[in-house]
C-alpha cells in the first residue's frame, strides 16, 4: 500500500470518514490526479476550465462521497476511489460545458464513450503537445497520426491500459482494480498493447527519429 504513498494509517482514517484525511490523500495524489485530469479533459473544454478549479471540485465531490470509500472492499486503493470520483467530476464538467452532446459526441463513431476515441485522442494530444519546433512538428505529425490510428485499432481495454499506466501513472495493481480484471490479466494486456505499438512503430518510416 505504501507504494502509492498512501499509508495504512491514512486509509484507516479515510475509512473512518475523517475529512482531514481526505485533504492528506489529495495532497499525496495531487500530481497523479492532475495528470489524469489533464489527460481526460476534453480539449474543447480545456481552454475554459482551470485544472486547479477542477481539483477543488474533485475534492468537494470526494468530501460528499467520503462514506462510499468505507464501503469499498478491504484492500481497495484509495487512489482508485479518488480517481473514480474525479472521473465523475469530469463527466459533470464536460456536461456543463458541452451539454448533453458531451455524451453524444462519441456516439456516432463508436459505441465507446470515455474509452474509444477520447482516450486515443487524449493520447494523441499528449503526444502532439510535446512538439516544440515546427520542423519537429512536421516530422512527428505523421508518427502521431499513425500512433493515433494504431491506438484506435487496438482493443479498447488494451488502449486503456496503456493510458492508465503511462499517462496516468497507475500501478499494475491499480489498473487491475480500475478495470475490474486481475493483476495477471492487466499485465498481460499491457505487454500486448506495447507489442502492438511496437509493430506499428517499426512500420513507420524514419521511426527512430520520430520517436
Amino acid at each position: 500500500m505504501l507504494e502509492d504513498g498512501i499509508s495504512a494509517e491514512l486509509i484507516a482514517r479515510l475509512r473512518a470518514g475523517e475529512e482531514a484525511a481526505l485533504g492528506e490523500l489529495l495532497a499525496v495524489c495531487e500530481a497523479r490526479l492532475r495528470q489524469m485530469l489533464f489527460f481526460r479533459l476534453d480539449p474543447r473544454v480545456a481552454s475554459r476550465v482551470d485544472v486547479d478549479d477542477l481539483l477543488q471540485e474533485v475534492f468537494l465531490d470526494a468530501q460528499k462521497r467520503l462514506s462510499h470509500f468505507a464501503a469499498t472492499p478491504e484492500g481497495s486503493s484509495a487512489y482508485v476511489w479518488l480517481r473514480l470520483v474525479a472521473m465523475q467530476t469530469l463527466c459533470d464538467v464536460h456536461r456543463r460545458h458541452l451539454g448533453t452532446k458531451a455524451r453524444d459526441a462519441g456516439r456516432d463513431q463508436s459505441l465507446n464513450l470515455v474509452s474509444g476515441n477520447s482516450t486515443a485522442t487524449s493520447m494523441a494530444h499528449a503526444l502532439a503537445g510535446n512538439l516544440t519546433s515546427p520542423s519537429q512538428a512536421i516530422q512527428r505529425a505523421e508518427a502521431v497520426d499513425a500512433v493515433q490510428r494504431a491506438l484506435q485499432e487496438m482493443e479498447e481495454i488494451d488502449r486503456e491500459v496503456l493510458a492508465l499506466r503511462n499517462f496516468e501513472d497507475l500501478s499494475n495493481q491499480e489498473v487491475a482494480e480500475v478495470l475490474g480484471i486481475n493483476q495477471g490479466a492487466a499485465s498481460l494486456r499491457y505487454v500486448r498493447a506495447l507489442k502492438r505499438l511496437q509493430q506499428i512503430m517499426a512500420k513507420l518510416p524514419d521511426s527512430d527519429k520520430a520517436w
Partner: protein
C-alpha cells in the same frame, strides 16, 4: 540464466529477490519488475535486459522500444502538465492577435494583453467563457451585441477593434488601457484609509495593466469629491451617448469602469452582459458581488437606460463612500432584500464629509423607481457638471410627502416576499399599490355619497381586475389566449401577496349589490377566486367558490332577462368544468364525470358555430378524459388545511419578516402525497377506449371551424394529442405514435411562436419527459436512445423556462424528475452493454444525473422546508445514488449486470 539472475540480484539491490528467484520469468513479470526498478531510480537499458534474460530476448525487443518511447513522450508531457493551468491553454494565436499574457479574469472570461500580428498594435483581447456566450443561440447574439458595441465611438468608451470566434472561443479585441478598474481603485482607497472593506476580490473585468494607476486625490479631500464628480460626468456622458445609439450596457459596475493614467474614465464591455446570465444567479455562489449593482427592475427582467443610470449611481456611491450601496450585506438574499426595499443609506450617513449636493445627485440616480431617477444619463452628467462648476444642482432631496408615498410603495409585505422572490418584484409592487389605494378608497367611500361610492367601487374593481388578470386564470381552465400566453407565473411568493389582495377583493364581492350587473360581476369574481385557489392546488376552497357562484346564478336565472343570461351561460359551463376538475382531484371521479356531462349538455344548447363554445366543449371532452396519475391528488393538503380554519374575513394583516405560511402550501408540487413510483404499478398508463373517444371528440371539435384557431385552441389540441400518445414508447402502436408526432409538432410549433409563454414551454418540457421509467427494461437500445434524446431536450426546455422563472417550484420539479428519468435510462443502457468500460461510463453518467436531481431537489427542499414531499424525494434520490454508486464500484447490479472484467 542462473548466473544472469544472480548477477542481477547482486548488482541491483533495488529489485526484489523473490521476484528474481521466481522462475521461469514471463515477459510480463519482467516488464513489471523492470518498471519497479526504474521507479526506484535505476536506469535500465534494453541491452542489459537482453543480456540478463537472453531467453526473453525476442520478447524484450518486441516491447521495449515502444515502452521507452511511451515513457519519454509521457514524461515530457507530464512535466509540461505539472506546470500548466488549463485555463490558459489557449491557442496563442487568436485571429490576427497573438496572446501574450493574462491581465485579468472574471465571470465573463479572461482578458489577455495581445499584439496584432501585422499592425504591431497592442490590444486587450477578451476571451469569453462558454457560459457567457450561452449555448446555441449565443453566437448570433454575441455577434449582434459585439457589432453594436463596435459601432460606439466615444472618448470614454473602450473602442472595440474586432471580434470573432475561433475553435469555439469567442473573443473581442479592444484598445488596451493602461490604468485600473474602479473596483481596484476603491479597494486601494479602502486599504489606504485603513477602512475595513468588504470583499476585496470583486474585480471582474480588468483590462488594465496593473501598477499603472493614475494619481487619485486623497480620499475625503475636496479634490477627491471633484474627482468623483468628474469621473461621473465622463461616464454618464458616455453612457448617454451609447443610449442614443440604442445600446444598453446592462452591467455597469466599478469593475467595468477603467481609469487610465491621465485620469480619463473608460467604460468596458458595452452590451456584452447577457440577459440570460440572470438565469444563472441561483447557480453561482459569488452572486452577492454581482447582484449589488443591479437595479430593482432588473430583478424583474426589465433592463433599460434607467437601469444603466442606476448602475452608474451605485458605482459613484461606492466611490464616494468606499462602501457598497447595499451596505455590508453578503448573502444573495440580503442584497436582494436591500435593493428591493431600496434600503440604501445616504452617503452622508456613511461619511458626513460627502458634499450634500453630490449625495443628492447620487441618491436620485439610485432611486428605486426608474421614474424618480434622472430622465436620462445626460441629465445626470449635467447635474454632476453643475456640481463641478459650483452651481446648484437640479436634484432635490425627497420631501416629506414624497417620502410617504415611497414608503407606501414599499409595503412591508413587499419586503417580506421579495427576499425570496426577486422575480415577482414588480408584480408584487403593483398589487401592493393597488391594494393600498383600494383600502384608502374603501375608507373614503364610507364618507361619500352613494353615487361617489359606487363609482369608487367600480374603479377599484377595475384596477383590481386589471392587476389580477395576469394571474387569476388557471392554466387548465384557460378561457382566453391571455392565460396561455401570459408571461407571468404564479410562485408561492406571489400567491401569498395575491391571497392578500384577494382578501380585499372579497370585501367588494360581499358588499356587491343585487342588480344583475353586480351579480354577473360576482359570478365572474367567484370564478376568479376558484381558479386562483385551483392554481394553488387548493381544490376544496375552489369548490366552495364555484358553488357560491352557481348559487348566485340560480338567483339570477330567476330574475334576469334572457339576454343578460345568455352572455353568462358560457361562464357557467366553464364553472361546471372547473367543478369537475376539482372533484377529480378531490378523489371523486364519478361526481367529476357528472359535472363534465352537465357542462357538455349546457354547451350543446349554445351556438356551436361560436369558436368559444366549441373550445369549451372540446375542453369538456379533454377534461373528462383525464385520469389522475399517481401522486397528482393533493389529498394530504386537505388535512393540513383542516388545522387552519378558513379565514372568511379574507383580510390578512400585512406581516414583515419571513415568508408567511399559508395559502401557498398547496402550490408546492410533490406535495407530500406522490406515492412511491413502485406503488404506482397499478396505474394504467394506457388509455381506455372511453378516454380515447373523449379525446378524439375534442380533437374533432378543435379541428373544425373556418377561422384560424386561437392559440388556446391550438394549445388544447396539442394537449389532446399528447393525451392520445400515452404509452407511445412502452406500448407502441400506430395510434399512439401518430398522436405523439402530432403532439410533438404542435407543441414545438407553439413554443417556437410563443417562446415566452411559460404555460406552453412547461407543457413541452413535460411532453418530452413523458415516459414510464418502470418499463424501460423492455425497450430496445434505439428506443432508449430516442428517449434519452427527448429527455435531454426536455431538460433544455426546462432550463430555458427556469432562466426566466427561476422561482416556480413546478418547473424545477419537472427538471428534477427529468434528470432522474435520465438516470434510469442510462442505467438501463449500462445493463445492456457487455463492455465494462462503457457500462461504467453510462453508470457514471447516471450518477451525475441523479446528483443533478439531488442538487435541484435540495434547492427546493431548502426553499420550502414545510414541503415534506420534497424531503421524501430527496431521500429517494439519495438512495438511488447510493445504489448506482454501489453498482459502479462493485459491478454487482442485480440479475443481468455487466460482466466483471473479461477474465
Amino acid at each position: 540464466m542462473t548466473d544472469a539472475r544472480r548477477s542481477e540480484s547482486s548488482d541491483n539491490p533495488g529489485s526484489s529477490p523473490e521476484a528474481s528467484s521466481r522462475s521461469p520469468l514471463s515477459v510480463e513479470e519482467l516488464v513489471e519488475q523492470t518498471l519497479a526498478r526504474q521507479k526506484a531510480g535505476e536506469a535500465v537499458s534494453m541491452g542489459q535486459l537482453i543480456a540478463d534474460y537472453p531467453a526473453l530476448a525476442d520478447q524484450i525487443r518486441d516491447v521495449w522500444p515502444a515502452l521507452e518511447a511511451l515513457q519519454s513522450l509521457s514524461s515530457d508531457w507530464k512535466q509540461s502538465v505539472s506546470r500548466k493551468r488549463t485555463g490558459m491553454q489557449l491557442p496563442c494565436q487568436l485571429g490576427p492577435y497573438r496572446l501574450e499574457r493574462e491581465i485579468g479574469r472574471g465571470g465573463m472570461g479572461v482578458v489577455y494583453e495581445a499584439q496584432h500580428g501585422q499592425l504591431q498594435r497592442r490590444v486587450a483581447v477578451k476571451v469569453l467563457s462558454g457560459q457567457a456566450v450561452h449555448a446555441d443561440k449565443g453566437l448570433e447574439r454575441f455577434l449582434r451585441e459585439a457589432r453594436s458595441a463596435a459601432r460606439l465611438h466615444h472618448t470614454n468608451i473602450i473602442p472595440v477593434f474586432n471580434f470573432g470566434e475561433q475553435d469555439g472561443l469567442y473573443f473581442i479585441a479592444m484598445q488596451l488601457i493602461r490604468g485600473a478598474a474602479l473596483d481596484r481603485v476603491i479597494g486601494r482607497l479602502r486599504r489606504d484609509g485603513d477602512l475595513v472593506g468588504a470583499d476585496a476580490e470583486t474585480s471582474h473585468n480588468l483590462l488594465e495593466a496593473p501598477a499603472e494607476e493614475c494619481d487619485i486625490p486623497d480620499y475625503g479631500t475636496d479634490a477627491f469629491w471633484r474627482f468623483v464628480a468628474s469621473a461621473g460626468v465622463q461616464a454618464a456622458q458616455a453612457v448617454h451617448y451609447a443610449h442614443s445609439q440604442s445600446t444598453i450596457h446592462r452591467d455597469l459596475k466599478p469593475a467595468n469602469l477603467l481609469l487610465d493614467q491621465d485620469g480619463t474614465v473608460w467604460i468596458a464591455d458595452f452590451g456584452l452582459a447577457m440577459q440570460s446570465d440572470t438565469g444563472h444567479w441561483s447557480q453561482t455562489n459569488s452572486l452577492a458581488g454581482t447582484l449589488r449593482y443591479l437595479s430593482p427592475e432588473q430583478f424583474q427582467g426589465t433592463c433599460n437606460e434607467a437601469s444603466d443610470q442606476y448602475g452608474l449611481g451605485v458605482t459613484l456611491y461606492e466611490l464616494l463612500t468606499l462602501k457598497a450601496a447595499t451596505g455590508d450585506t453578503t448573502t444573495q438574499a440580503e442584497v436582494m432584500r436591500a435593493i428591493a426595499e431600496s434600503r440604501i443609506a445616504t452617503p452622508r450617513s456613511v461619511n458626513a464629509q460627502v458634499p450634500i449636493d453630490l449625495e443628492t445627485i447620487v441618491m436620485k440616480a439610485v432611486s428605486r423607481e426608474p421614474a424618480d431617477r434622472y430622465a436620462d444619463c445626460g441629465q445626470l452628467a449635467d447635474d454632476l457638471q453643475r456640481f463641478l462648476e459650483g452651481r446648484s444642482v437640479l436634484a432635490r432631496p425627497p420631501g416629506a410627502l414624497e417620502q410617504l408615498t415611497k414608503w407606501s410603495r414599499r409595503n412591508p409585505l413587499l419586503a417580506a416576499s421579495i427576499c425570496v422572490s426577486a422575480l415577482s418584484l414588480l408584480l408584487v409592487a403593483g398589487i401592493a399599490v393597488v391594494g393600498y389605494s383600494l383600502e384608502r378608497q374603501a375608507r373614503l367611500a364610507e364618507q361619500q355619497t352613494e353615487l361617489e361610492k359606487s363609482s369608487a367601487i367600480i374603479k377599484s374593481r377595475e384596477s383590481l381586475d386589471e392587476a389580477l388578470d395576469e394571474f387569476s386564470g388557471s392554466g387548465d381552465s384557460a378561457s382566453r389566449d391571455q392565460d396561455v400566453l401570459s408571461t407571468s407565473v404564479l410562485t408561492p411568493e406571489t400567491a401569498e401577496t395575491l391571497g392578500y389582495a384577494f382578501g380585499l377583493y372579497r370585501e367588494f364581492v360581499e358588499r356587491a349589490g343585487a342588480s344583475p350587473e353586480d351579480m354577473a360581476w360576482t359570478i365572474a369574481t367567484r370564478k376568479r377566486f376558484g381558479d386562483f385557489s385551483q392554481r394553488l392546488n387548493d381544490f376544496e376552497a375552489a369548490t366552495v367558490e364555484y358553488e357560491a357562484a352557481l348559487r348566485e346564478w340560480d338567483v339570477l336565472v330567476a330574475t334576469a332577462t334572457a339576454e343578460q343570461l345568455t352572455s353568462l351561460r358560457l361562464t357557467i359551463a366553464a364553472i361546471y368544468n372547473e367543478l369537475g376538475t376539482c372533484l377529480l382531484f378531490l378523489g371523486q371521479p364519478d361526481a367529476s364525470a357528472r359535472w363534465h356531462a352537465r357542462a357538455q349538455s349546457a354547451l350543446e344548447q349554445l351556438d356551436i358555430d361560436s369558436a368559444d363554445v366549441r373550445y369549451e366543449l372540446a375542453r369538456t371532452h379533454f377534461l373528462a378524459s383525464r385520469k389522475l396519475r399517481p401522486g397528482e391528488s393533493p389529498l394530504n393538503s386537505l388535512s393540513a388545511r383542516a388545522n387552519e380554519p378558513p379565514d372568511r374575513s379574507g383580510r390578512r394583516p400585512p406581516r414583515s419578516g419571513g415568508p408567511m405560511p399559508g395559502v401557498w402550501r398547496h402550490l408546492i408540487p410533490g406535495r407530500t402525497s406522490r406515492p412511491e413510483p413502485r406503488d404506482a404499478g397499478r396505474f394504467e398508463m394506457e388509455m381506455s377506449s372511453k378516454q380515447r373517444t373523449q379525446l378524439e371528440r375534442a380533437i374533432a371539435l378543435l379541428e373544425t371551424g373556418a377561422e384560424a384557431p386561437s392559440v388556446r385552441a391550438r394549445f388544447l389540441l396539442a394537449q389532446c394529442y399528447a393525451g392520445l400518445s400515452m404509452g407511445r414508447f412502452t406500448n407502441p402502436s400506430r395510434q399512439t405514435e401518430d398522436a405523439g408526432e402530432e403532439a410533438d409538432r404542435r407543441l414545438s410549433d407553439l413554443h417556437e411562436e410563443y417562446p415566452d409563454a411559460p404555460a406552453i414551454t412547461a407543457k413541452l418540457a413535460e411532453l418530452l419527459a413523458e415516459v414510464d421509467t418502470r418499463s424501460l427494461q423492455m425497450l430496445d437500445e434505439n428506443t432508449l436512445r430516442e428517449i434519452e434524446d427527448r429527455l435531454a431536450d426536455s431538460m433544455m426546455v426546462s432550463q430555458e423556462l427556469l432562466v426566466n422563472h427561476p422561482f416556480v417550484p413546478d418547473y424545477k420539479f419537472t427538471l428534477v424528475h427529468t434528470h432522474s428519468k435520465m438516470a434510469a435510462v442510462l442505467e438501463s443502457r449500462s445493463r445492456r452493454t457487455f463492455d465494462r468500460l462503457q457500462s461504467q461510463v453510462l453508470l457514471m453518467e447516471a450518477v451525475t444525473e441523479v446528483e443533478e436531481s439531488i442538487r435541484l431537489q435540495t434547492q427546493l427542499a431548502k426553499r420550502y422546508p414545510q414541503a415534506t414531499g420534497y424531503q421524501q424525494w430527496l431521500l429517494r434520490f439519495e438512495g438511488r445514488r447510493t445504489q448506482l454508486l454501489e453498482q459502479l464500484m462493485f459491478g454487482d447490479s442485480p440479475g443481468w449486470g455487466p460482466p466483471r472484467g473479461r477474465n
